[in-house]
């Protein structure tokens, strides 16, 4: 146990889109093998923050980041940092399921393939294990070579999780993974998150406070680009220190 308990550390993180500041002075720590939830009203910057952790914000030309973001004590915004290996280590599941227009098998095998695995047997093994871990194997094992677009929304989202697991990341970022899903599919994903935290660190953005309360160990409440309060989920929901947080979690605004 030489690793420190926190896997992601941000210090005085500021982020601008052009002239508009989207994140202000965020300092937080994400603990290893725990589920951390980010909640807050629309436009508060929670999706922006989660996209900082795997540098998906790089895709936006006008985006500018200041401050430090350490993952395993390495600054991921250091000029010499390798964005490809960061993203390999920090997987992401998006708001809307986005399987590639390929077969179920090819979707999961995509990650291992681009990282250099070519033997068919090894790929078969990874695909099966990943799909099992994503609780999807039994539903798709007979149609591995059908187009992924033919799966239901919930299955597509679990396929995206399997695709992410196949790369063997350490951290999984989930950006409102259930917002496009029905309650049953949502329940399946929530169960899955509970299992995933044994082996992975999960950071989840959610609109749904009940979901945050159900799945997470730690919760951060964000408002207008600031991290208002961060702590253990039970404490945030039962004894919030800030009035803003209290108002939000009791549903008085937001």
């Amino acid at each position: 146990m030489e690793k420190s308990p926190s896997i992601i550390t941000t210090k005085n993180l500021n982020l601008w889109y052009g002239e508009k500041q989207a994140l202000a002075d965020i300092t937080m720590e994400v603990e290893r093998n725990r589920v951390t939830a980010l909640i807050g009203p629309s436009g508060c910057g929670k999706s922006t923050l989660i996209r900082v952790f795997n540098r998906m914000n790089d895709l936006i030309d006008t985006c500018r980041v200041e401050g430090s973001v350490l993952i395993d004590d390495q600054d991921i915004y250091h000029p010499a940092a390798d964005v490809v290996s960061i993203r390999k280590k920090v997987g992401m599941v998006f708001q809307k399921p986005n399987p590639f227009p390929k077969s179920v098998y090819e979707n999961v095998a995509y990650g291992p393939r681009i990282h250099g695995i070519r033997e068919r047997g090894e790929l078969d093994r990874i695909v099966e294990v990943s799909l099992r871990d994503a609780a999807l194997w039994n539903e798709v094992k007979d149609r591995l070579h059908d187009p992924a677009g033919g799966l239901s929304g919930g299955q597509q989202q679990r396929l995206c999780i399997a695709r992410c697991l196949a790369v063997e990341p350490e951290i999984i970022l989930m950006d409102e993974p259930c917002s496009a899903l029905d309650p049953i599919a949502t329940a399946k994903i929530e169960n899955l998150i509970d299992i995933l935290k044994r082996s992975y660190t999960v950071v989840i953005v959610t609109h749904n406070m009940q979901q945050a309360a159900r799945v997470s160990d730690f919760t951060g409440f964000m408002y207008l680009g600031k991290l208002i309060e961060f702590g253990e989920t039970t404490r945030i929901f039962e004894k919030p220190k800030e009035e803003l947080t209290a108002n939000y979690v009791t549903g008085r605004f937001g």
Binding site: L59, F94, C160
Partner: protein, 688 residues
């Protein structure tokens, strides 16, 4: 139709249709005499009358369009039948000698078919690496700034008239080939293929770029988030997802190459022979289109030769049909796309194209390796012949080394190599097109003077000006637009807004598509046979205007239809639900947002008509006349034809050739740039 009663009932009907079984209060309020309709003095009878008149007009327009389309197809076919009866269809297609003026005459089109295929095939081998490379560069690698310059520039170049390309080919390309390979003549298969490759570059690049750009952002994010490099994301996710669109672009390019007349006719040498040996790219060659371009003017009406030319046109139609059918299947795959298609309105039957698509996909995936090998071999052959054995050997060695080393090379280095290849392709494309423009602009400016723009030609066009040609072109274009625009737009509105899209509409649409892809020289042949000879218009302004109008009619119908279909169905439903009539809905809600699309289509059609040579060369134009036409039955001069004759038949007229080319270029490219600016403007401002 428009009584308030109907509206009331309709709204209850909608409620039950949506599956909610609400008992709800009765909504027949308007029906009850105690509650007269609000503003009950609406002028319903007059509105109805106007409504009916407009629908009748639109119906008339579509009827004219349909009858014309079917008539052209039938006329071409029926005039081709006699030659099939005389020599037999099989003999006509497989005969090895084309000599319709010989004694005895022979009508074998096999060398012409082979010529068309060979010219097209080599052109594609040259153009594909360049245009696909630059499409990927513009869509994925270039900075937004670079892209915003390159993309419209390349689209603009798609508008350069083919006779201008032909002129460039004749004065620069064939000379260069003759000198560098020490040939007797530069008029060869290779010259034709290089020229066609350059002409297809803008189209294929632009359409492929659209297809790549249309791949949803989520796919890219999903791949990058897994730690893929940009090149891995492009090559394994984005390009495969855009595969159908890219294929459609290639098919479009093939269609353009097969149908091209003037440029090919000017640089290919036109001997109706099969090259010996078959890969001898320095052999002269003749295509189906060039045959029509050369022989239509001097044929006796009703002779076997006359019918043989219709036979050639028929073959071109068949080729167009095949190209169209492949395109339909491929584009069907785009629309069914990666997302599951739920057959909703087909009553559970799976549409044919959804059954074809998987089969096509299986064939594609099986053919991918052999196709790559064949294409690679062709490219290599092209390099071997144009740049010498050393270059070909080097590239072959580099490719093999790359394939062998690929597994060992890191993805980072692969990315660097791939990116440099794309950048290289783009640079070559920009260089080629830049050289052509530079050459024509610099040499053309020397010829431009006040006298040149306002005077009549002297000394076979070597001296004097081109004023009659400028005016003639404007007359021709104005007439064509006056004919095609009302009919085309009216027909499109009727087809989209007033019909349910049943089997009949589908047949009409196929006919329109077929004519849309038909080579313009076929229209030239039709106009010559029907208007000039049969209706005794003679070679005249009117015959040319109608022929040009028919040529652009399918384009106008198609682009208008597309623009109307892009307007969301919700707009129409919203308006109809407020009690608006159909024409009120169409005129106030549907047409305004569709207008930019309609205008763009119309302007592109104008540009095409202004640069068109093949459709007017037998119907409307003479090489030289000192007078402007005084009646529609007078012949006229026109810029494209003037350039064609100056370039091919008048020695020592270089200055005025360049001058004419520049005027034509500026005219057509100017028209195109209006269309592009208009489109980009509305793309930025219109959102729904």
């Amino acid at each position: 139709m428009n009584s308030p009663v109907y509206i009331g009932r309709n709204s209850t009907g909608d409620v039950s249709n949506s599956g909610q079984d609400l008992p709800g209060p009765p909504t027949f309020t308007y029906n009850s005499p105690a509650h007269p309709a609000p503003g009950g003095t609406l002028p319903f009878p007059r509105a109805l009358k106007k409504e009916g008149a407009i629908e009748a007009l639109l119906f008339l327009a579509s009827l004219v369009a349909i009858v014309t389309v079917l008539f052209i197809l039938a006329y071409l076919f029926l005039n081709a039948v006699p030659i099939f009866q005389e020599v037999g269809f099989f003999e006509f297609v497989t005969g090895l000698s084309w000599d319709p003026t010989g004694i005895p005459p022979s009508y074998g089109t096999f060398p012409l078919i082979v010529g068309t295929l060979l010219v097209t095939l080599l052109a594609m081998a040259i153009t594909l690496p360049l245009s696909l490379g630059s499409a990927v560069f513009i869509a994925e690698i270039a900075s937004p700034r670079t892209r915003s310059i390159l993309k419209p520039a390349i689209e603009l170049l798609a508008g350069i008239p083919s006779v201008v390309y032909g002129f460039f080919g004749l004065v620069i390309l064939t000379e260069a080939l003759q000198v560098s390979f020490d040939l007797d003549s530069g008029l060869t298969w290779l010259a034709g293929s290089i020229l066609l490759a350059i002409m297809a570059l803008p189209t294929i690049t632009s359409v492929s770029e659209d297809a790549i750009k249309a791949v949803p952002r989520e796919f890219r994010e999903g791949s990058l988030a897994l730690g893929a490099t940009r090149w891995q994301t492009m090559s394994r996710v984005v390009i495969p997802a855009a595969f159908s669109g890219i294929t459609a672009a290639i098919i479009l390019g093939i269609g353009r190459a097969v149908g091209e007349t003037m440029a090919v006719l000017m640089v290919c040498g036109n001997a109706p022979i099969i090259p010996v040996p078959i890969y001898n790219v320095f052999s002269p060659i003749r295509t189906l289109t060039a045959t029509l371009g050369i022989e239509t003017g001097e044929v006796a009406s009703g002779s076997a030769h006359y019918h043989a030319l219709f036979g050639v046109a028929f073959l071109l139609l068949i080729i167009t049909l095949i190209v169209n059918m492949i395109a339909t299947v491929v584009i069907g795959r785009i629309q069914s796309g990666p997302v599951r298609v739920i057959p909703r309105r087909t009553g559970g039957r799976i549409p044919l194209r959804n059954r074809i698509a998987p089969a096509m996909k299986a064939i594609f995936s099986k053919l991918r390796l052999p196709a790559t090998v064949i294409l690679g071999a062709l490219v290599l052959l092209a390099i071997d012949l144009s740049a010498g054995h050393m270059a070909a050997a080097t590239i072959l060695a580099a490719t093999v080394a790359f394939l062998l080393a690929r597994r060992k090379v890191s993805s980072r280095i692969t990315e660097k190599i791939a990116f440099s290849l794309m950048i290289g392709a783009t640079l070559i494309v920009v260089l080629i097109l830049g050289v052509i423009l530079w050459n024509i602009v610099v040499n053309g400016l020397a010829a431009i003077s006040w006298e040149f723009l306002t005077g009549s030609p002297r000394d076979l066009g070597r001296g004097g000006g081109i004023y009659p040609a400028i005016v003639g072109t404007l007359y021709l274009v104005a007439g064509a637009i006056a004919i095609a625009l009302p009919i085309g737009i009216g027909a499109a509105i009727y087809l989209v807004e007033y019909t349910g899209g049943g089997r009949f509409v589908r047949i009409i649409r196929s006919g329109v598509d077929l004519l849309n892809g038909t080579p313009s020289i076929v229209f030239g042949l039709f106009g010559f046979a029907f208007f000039v000879l049969f209706l005794h218009f003679g070679v005249s302004l009117l015959a040319g205007q109608i022929t040009l109008g028919l040529l652009i009619l399918p384009t106008i119908i198609r682009t208008t239809e597309e623009a109307l279909k892009c307007v969301p169905q919700g707009f129409r439903e919203g308006s109809l639900a407020l009690g608006a009539s159909r024409w009120q809905t169409v005129s106030r809600v549907v047409i305004p947002p569709a207008m930019p699309g309609v205008l763009t289509g119309a302007i592109l059609a104008i540009g095409r008509a202004a640069g068109e040579t093949a459709a007017i060369m037998f119907t409307a134009v003479v090489f030289s006349t000192r007078f402007l036409p005084t009646s529609p039955f007078d012949p006229v001069m026109a810029l494209p034809y003037h350039l064609f004759i100056l370039a091919t038949n008048v020695p020592n007229a270089r200055t005025n050739q360049y001058g004419t080319a520049l005027v034509l270029l500026v005219l057509v490219v100017g028209i195109y740039s209006i269309a592009i600016v208009l489109r980009n403007h509305y793309q930025k401002t219109v959102r729904w």
